[in-house]
C-alpha cells in the first residue's frame, strides 16, 4: 500500500523534528538542532532494517520515492517565494556580509575535501 511508504516517511520526519527540538532545549537554544538530519538517518536505518527482515514492497516504496522525485519542483516553488527584494534592499552591508561568507565557504570546499577520513 502506498500509504505505508508515506506514513513511514512522515513518521521519520516527525520523530526527527521532535528529537531536534529536544536537542535544542538541551543546549538551551531556540532552534531545532539537526531534526531533518536525524529524520534522514532514521529513514536510512529503518529502510535498511526493512530490507533485511522483510521486503518493503514496490508500491510501498513508491510512497517514498514519489516525494524524493517531486523534490526539484518543490525547490523551484521555494525559490519563487524567496524574499529577493528584501535581500536587495539590505544594501551594501548585507550584500558584502552574505557575499564574502559564501565566497570564503566555497574556497574551503577543496581544502576540506582533502581530509582522508
Amino acid at each position: 500500500m502506498v500509504i505505508y511508504g508515506v506514513a513511514l516517511l512522515s513518521f521519520c520526519m516527525v520523530l526527527g523534528i521532535i528529537l531536534g527540538e529536544l536537542l535544542g532545549r538541551l543546549f538551551g537554544v531556540d532552534a531545532n538542532i539537526g531534526g531533518i538530519g536525524i529524520a534522514m538517518l532514521l529513514l536510512i536505518f529503518l529502510s535498511d532494517y526493512f530490507k533485511k527482515s522483510f521486503r518493503l514492497g514496490d508500491i510501498t516504496e513508491k510512497g517514498i520515492t514519489f516525494w524524493s522525485m517531486i523534490y526539484i519542483p518543490i525547490v523551484v516553488a521555494m525559490a519563487s517565494k524567496q524574499n529577493v527584494l528584501g535581500a536587495i534592499d539590505g544594501g551594501l552591508v548585507a550584500l558584502f556580509a552574505g557575499g564574502i561568507a559564501v565566497l570564503l565557504s566555497f574556497l574551503m570546499i577543496p581544502i576540506l575535501s582533502k581530509i582522508k577520513k
Binding site: 534522514m40 538517518l41 552591508v93 552574505g98
Partner: protein
C-alpha cells in the same frame, strides 16, 4: 467578461496548492526547453528553473510589496505551501531513501569539521564587514556576523543580545543574500571546487548551511547529492544559534 476573470481568479485561489503545481510545472517545462534548445543541455534545466523562480519572486515582491515572492499574489498563494519548509523538509528526508550509510560514515569527520569551520568563517566574514561599515558595538557586530551564518541565526542572536531592530533586519538581509547567492552561484562554481561526489556535498552542506541555498544549489548540480549536503546543513543553523550568542559574542566582546 469580468465575471469570467473573477471566477477563474477565485477558483485558482481556492485551490492554491493545485494551482501551484501548474505554475511550477510551467516554469520547469520552459526551463528544460530553453536548456535543451538554447544551451544544448549545458546549462542544467533545474538550475535554470530555480533562477527563473527567483526572478518571479523578485517580480512578485516588487508587484505586491510583500516578503513571500509570488506567494503574495492571491492566486499563487499555494506556492507558499508547496515551497514552504514543511514540504521542502519532507522531500529532503525522502531523498535519503536509498542512501548508503557507509558513504555518510566515510565522510563523517570532514562533515562535522566543515560545520564548525562554516559557522565560524561566515560569522567572522559578516562581523568584519560590519566593522568596515562603521559598526563599533559588540552587539551589532555579533548580530550582523550571525546574519551571515543564516537568516535564522541573525535574529535569534540579535534578540538574545538585545540588538536594535534595524540591525536585526540587516542581519536577516545578510542571511537572505547568502541563501540566494548559494542558489545562484552553486551551479557555476561546482565544477571549480570539485563538488561532484557525496563527500564534497557533505562538506558543501556543512560550510554553507543555509537549508534553502543548499537544497536548491545541489538540486541544480546533481540531485543525487542532495541528501548528503542536506544532512550536514540541517545541523548548521542549530550550531550557529548555539555558538553566535555565546562563544562568538564573547570573542567579539573581548576585541571591542
Amino acid at each position: 467578461m469580468m465575471d469570467l476573470l473573477e471566477v477563474i481568479n477565485s477558483v485558482l485561489s481556492k485551490n492554491g496548492l493545485i494551482t501551484s503545481f501548474i505554475f511550477v510545472g510551467c516554469i520547469v517545462w520552459v526551463s528544460y526547453f530553453i536548456s535543451d534548445k538554447l544551451t544544448d543541455g549545458k546549462f542544467h534545466g533545474s538550475a535554470l528553473a530555480i533562477l527563473l523562480g527567483l526572478l518571479f519572486a523578485y517580480l512578485g515582491g516588487t508587484y505586491t510589496g510583500g516578503e513571500q515572492g509570488v506567494a503574495d499574489i492571491s492566486f499563487l498563494s499555494g506556492v507558499g505551501l508547496l515551497g514552504g519548509a514543511m514540504l521542502r523538509d519532507f522531500a529532503i528526508v525522502a531523498t535519503a531513501y536509498g542512501v548508503r550509510f557507509e558513504d555518510l560514515k566515510s565522510s563523517g569527520l570532514a562533515g562535522v569539521l566543515s560545520l564548525f569551520i562554516g559557522v565560524i568563517l561566515s560569522f567572522f566574514a559578516g562581523a568584519a564587514v560590519a566593522v568596515i561599515f562603521g559598526y563599533s558595538d559588540a552587539t551589532s557586530i555579533t548580530t550582523i556576523g550571525a546574519g551571515a551564518v543564516t537568516f535564522v541565526v541573525g535574529p535569534v542572536t540579535g534578540s538574545a543580545l538585545g540588538a536594535s531592530s534595524d540591525v536585526i533586519a540587516l542581519s536577516i538581509a545578510a542571511g537572505l543574500v547568502k541563501s540566494i547567492l548559494v542558489m545562484v552561484g552553486t551551479p557555476f562554481l561546482a565544477k571549480h571546487v570539485g563538488l561532484n561526489n557525496p563527500k564534497s556535498a557533505m562538506i558543501f552542506g556543512g560550510l554553507m548551511g543555509t537549508n534553502s541555498g543548499v537544497a536548491a544549489g545541489l538540486a541544480a548540480v546533481d540531485p543525487k547529492l542532495v541528501p548528503y549536503g542536506a544532512m550536514t546543513a540541517t545541523f548548521y543553523t542549530g550550531l550557529g544559534c548555539l555558538l553566535a550568542p555565546s562563544f562568538l559574542y564573547l570573542i567579539i566582546n573581548i576585541i571591542y
